[in-house]
Amino acid sequence: MMQKYQYAIPAGLIALLGLWVAYVSYTQSPAAAFAFPRLVSAVFVVLAIWTFVKAIREGGEQDGGFTRAELFKIVPGMIVSAIYVFWGAKFFGFYTGTTITFFILLSLYDPADHRLAKSWVKRVIITAGFMAVMYCLFALILNVYTPREIWS
C-alpha cells in the first residue's frame, strides 16, 4: 500500500504546485508581467496532471522510490544539516557551526568502530585539518566575511 502511494504523493504535490502557479499567473495583474509565467504554467499543469494520473494508475510498478531503511539512514544526517543551515551557522558562527556539524556527520556515518579511541582521534584530526583548509581558503585568501556570532 505504502509502495503504491509513495509515487502518487510527490506527483500530487507537483500537480498542486502547478495549479497554484497557474492560478497566480492567471489572476494577478498586470497581465503583461505574467505573460511568460502563464505560458509556462499552462504546460506545467498539463504535464503535472498527466504525471499524477500515471502515478495513480501505475502505482508500485514504477522504478525508484524509497525503502523505510533508507529513510532511517537519511533522517539523522538531514536533521543535523537542517539545524546547521537554519540555526547553527548563524548562532555559533560559520566556522564553529561547521566544525561541530562536520564532526557530528563524520561520527554518524563513519563505519569505523565507535568504541575505539583511535577512531575518535582520527575524526578529530580530519575535522581540524578540513576546517584549517576552509579558514585559509575563505577567510584568508577569498576574504569572505562570515557571521562569527559567539565570537563577536
Binding site: 510527490p10 505574467f34 509565467p37 525508484g64 544539516s81 560559520f94 556515518y109 577569498l142
Partner: protein, 498 residues
C-alpha cells in the same frame, strides 16, 4: 585562425596557475567516487567571482575536462565510475586491474583521454565560429525557440522519462520567474521575503547538484563499501604509448562517436562512452574478449567521453544550448561573469572566449601528464571515505552559496532546492532539465517579451512566432525530439515487459 592570437594569454602567471589548479583538483575530484564533474564545476563557481572572467572560466574548463578523465581512476580501481561518463570504462578497466594491470589500464585511459580530448577541442575551435556566423540571423522569435529547444532537448533526450524531464524543465522555467519582473517591476511568486531578489543561479546550481549527492551518501548509512584492495604492478609508459598508438580502430571510433554525441545538445557524456564501447566491440575481431580486460574497451570509452567535452561547448557558446549537464553549469558560470553566449560571443568577448578554449587544449596535455603521474598513487585518492565526502561537500556547498552575496537566504534556498531535488531524483526526475529551465528562463522570457512587442506592431504573435523557415525548423526539432523520446520510452517499456 583567430585563436592563435590569444594563445599567449593562457601562459600568463594567473591563467596558467588556474589551469594547473583546475587540472590537478579536477583529477582528484574526478577520482573520488560520488563527486561528479557537474557538482565539481558547480561548487567551484563561487571561487571564480573575484577572478578575471577569463581566469575563472579557465579554472572551470580545466575542472570539467579533468574530472571526466579522473573519473576513470575509481572506475578502473574500484569498479565505481567517478562520473556517469566513465560507466563503460569499468567493464574492461576493472577486469584489467583485477589481473594486477591497474597501472596499465590507467595509462591507457589517460593517453586515450588525451587523444580524444585534443580532437574534441580542435572541433570546438573550428566548428564554433562557423555555427556562430550562421546563428547571427536569429531574431527574438528564433532565440526564444532556441531557449525552449535547450530545455526540451535536455528534458527529453537526457532524461529517463520524457514527461518527467519536461516537467522538471517547466519547474526550472517557473523558478526563473520568481522575483521582480524585469520590465514592469511587478512582484511575481514572492511568497517569502527572501525570494524578493529572485533565485540566484549559483546557490541553486550548488543545491541542485551537490546536496542530492550528500543525501545519497547519507542513504548508504555506516556500511563499508565493497572495496577490493588491488595490487598495482609497475608498467612502463612507453609500452602504453605504443599500445594506444597501435589501437587506431578503438581510438578512431571513440573519438568520432564522442565528438558527434558532444555536438548534439543535451545528450552528454554518459552515453558517449557506452556507444563508443559498443561500436568498437561490434567492429572488433576480438569481440569475445571485451569485458575481460581488453585494452580497446578502455581506449574507446575514455577517448569518447573526453572527445565529447569540447564539442559539448559548441552549441553552448553559439546558441546557449549546453551539450551536457556540466556544460549547463558552465553556462551559469559564463552568465555570472557577464558573458551571454550567442552568435556574437566571438565579436564581443574574444579576449575571454579564446583563452578559455585554448586553455582547454593545453589542459588536455596537463591532464594526461598529471594523470600519468598520479596513476601509481591513484588508489589512495579513490578511497576517501563516504562519511568524509558527505561532510566536506555539505560544508563547501554552504560556504560557496553564502559567499555569492553574503546572504543566509541563499544558503536556505540552496538546501531547500537540493533536498527537494534529491527526493525528485528518487522518483525519476532529473536535475539537468530543471537547471536548464532556470538558466534559460530569463533568455526565453526576454526574447518572448521582445518578440511580443515586435509582433504587436506587425501581424500579431501567431505569425511572428510560428512562421518563417527558421522558426518552423526549430519548432520541428522541438516536436521531433519530444516525439523521438516518447517513441524510445515506449519501445524500452515494451522490451522490459517482454
Amino acid at each position: 585562425m583567430e585563436f592563435l592570437y590569444y594563445f599567449d594569454e593562457v601562459f600568463t602567471l594567473w591563467a596558467f596557475s588556474m589551469l594547473l589548479l583546475g587540472t590537478v583538483f579536477g583529477l582528484i575530484l574526478g577520482a573520488t567516487p560520488g563527486l561528479s564533474p557537474t557538482m565539481a564545476v558547480a561548487l567551484a563557481i563561487p571561487f571564480t567571482f573575484k577572478m578575471e572572467p577569463a581566469h575563472g572560466l579557465i579554472l572551470l574548463g580545466a575542472l570539467y575536462s579533468s574530472t571526466v578523465a579522473g573519473g576513470a581512476v575509481s572506475a578502473i580501481l574500484l569498479k565505481i565510475p567517478g562520473a556517469p561518463a566513465n560507466i563503460a570504462t569499468t567493464l574492461d578497466g576493472h577486469a584489467m586491474a583485477k589481473d594486477g594491470d591497474g597501472k596499465r589500464a590507467l595509462q591507457l585511459s589517460f593517453l586515450a583521454s588525451l587523444f580524444g580530448g585534443v580532437s574534441g577541442v580542435l572541433l570546438l575551435i573550428f566548428a564554433t565560429p562557423i555555427l556562430a556566423k550562421w546563428a547571427l540571423v536569429f531574431g527574438p522569435s528564433e532565440s526564444f525557440w532556441i531557449a525552449i529547444l535547450g530545455v526540451t532537448i535536455i528534458g527529453t533526450l537526457g532524461s529517463t522519462s520524457v514527461i518527467k524531464g519536461l516537467l522538471a524543465g517547466c519547474i526550472g522555467l517557473w523558478i526563473s520567474t520568481i522575483g521582480f519582473d524585469d520590465i514592469l517591476g511587478t512582484q511575481r511568486f514572492i511568497f517569502h521575503s527572501s525570494l524578493a531578489g529572485g533565485i540566484n543561479i549559483i546557490p541553486a546550481l550548488i543545491g541542485l547538484f551537490a546536496i542530492p549527492q550528500v543525501i545519497a551518501m547519507f542513504a548508504k548509512g555506516r556500511s563499508h563499501e565493497d572495496m577490493e584492495v588491488l595490487e598495482i604492478k609497475p608498467h612502463p609508459l612507453r609500452k602504453a604509448i605504443r599500445e594506444v598508438a597501435s589501437r587506431t580502430r578503438a581510438l578512431g571510433i571513440g573519438t568520432a562517436v564522442g565528438s558527434i554525441i558532444g555536438l548534439i545538445p543535451g545528450v552528454g557524456g554518459q552515453i558517449a562512452g557506452l556507444v563508443a564501447y559498443d561500436q568498437t566491440r561490434n567492429f572488433s575481431p576480438e569481440r569475445a574478449k571485451f569485458g575481460t580486460g581488453h585494452p580497446e574497451g578502455i581506449i574507446a570509452a575514455e577517448s569518447a567521453n573526453n572527445a565529447m567535452v569540447g564539442p559539448s561547448l559548441v552549441p553552448l557558446l553559439t546558441l546557449s544550448i549546453p551539450g551536457s549537464p556540466t556544460a549547463a553549469v558552465l553556462l551559469g558560470g559564463l552568465i555570472i561573469h557577464g558573458i551571454f553566449p550567442g552568435p556574437n560571443i566571438f565579436r564581443e568577448y574574444p579576449q575571454v572566449v579564446w583563452p578559455f578554449i585554448n586553455s582547454m587544449l593545453i589542459g588536455q596535455v596537463l591532464m594526461c601528464v598529471f594523470g600519468l603521474m598520479i596513476a601509481g598513487a591513484a588508489a589512495h585518492v579513490a578511497r576517501v571515505p563516504r562519511s568524509v565526502m558527505a561532510a566536506v561537500v555539505l560544508a563547501l556547498a554552504v560556504f560557496g552559496s553564502y559567499s555569492v552575496q553574503l546572504s543566509m537566504d541563499d544558503v536556505f534556498v540552496m538546501l531547500i532546492l537540493g533536498t527537494g531535488m534529491y527526493f525528485l531524483e528518487r522518483y525519476g526526475y532529473s536535475a539537468a532539465p530543471l537547471v536548464l529551465g532556470l538558466i534559460l528562463g530569463p533568455i526565453a522570457e526576454g526574447n518572448f517579451v521582445e518578440g511580443a512587442m515586435i509582433a504587436a506592431a506587425q501581424n500579431g504573435i501567431g505569425p511572428y512566432f510560428f512562421t518563417g523557415s527558421l522558426n518552423l525548423t526549430l519548432i520541428a526539432i522541438v516536436v521531433g525530439s519530444i516525439a523521438y523520446s516518447v517513441w524510445l520510452e515506449l519501445k524500452n517499456r515494451q522490451e522490459r515487459a517482454a
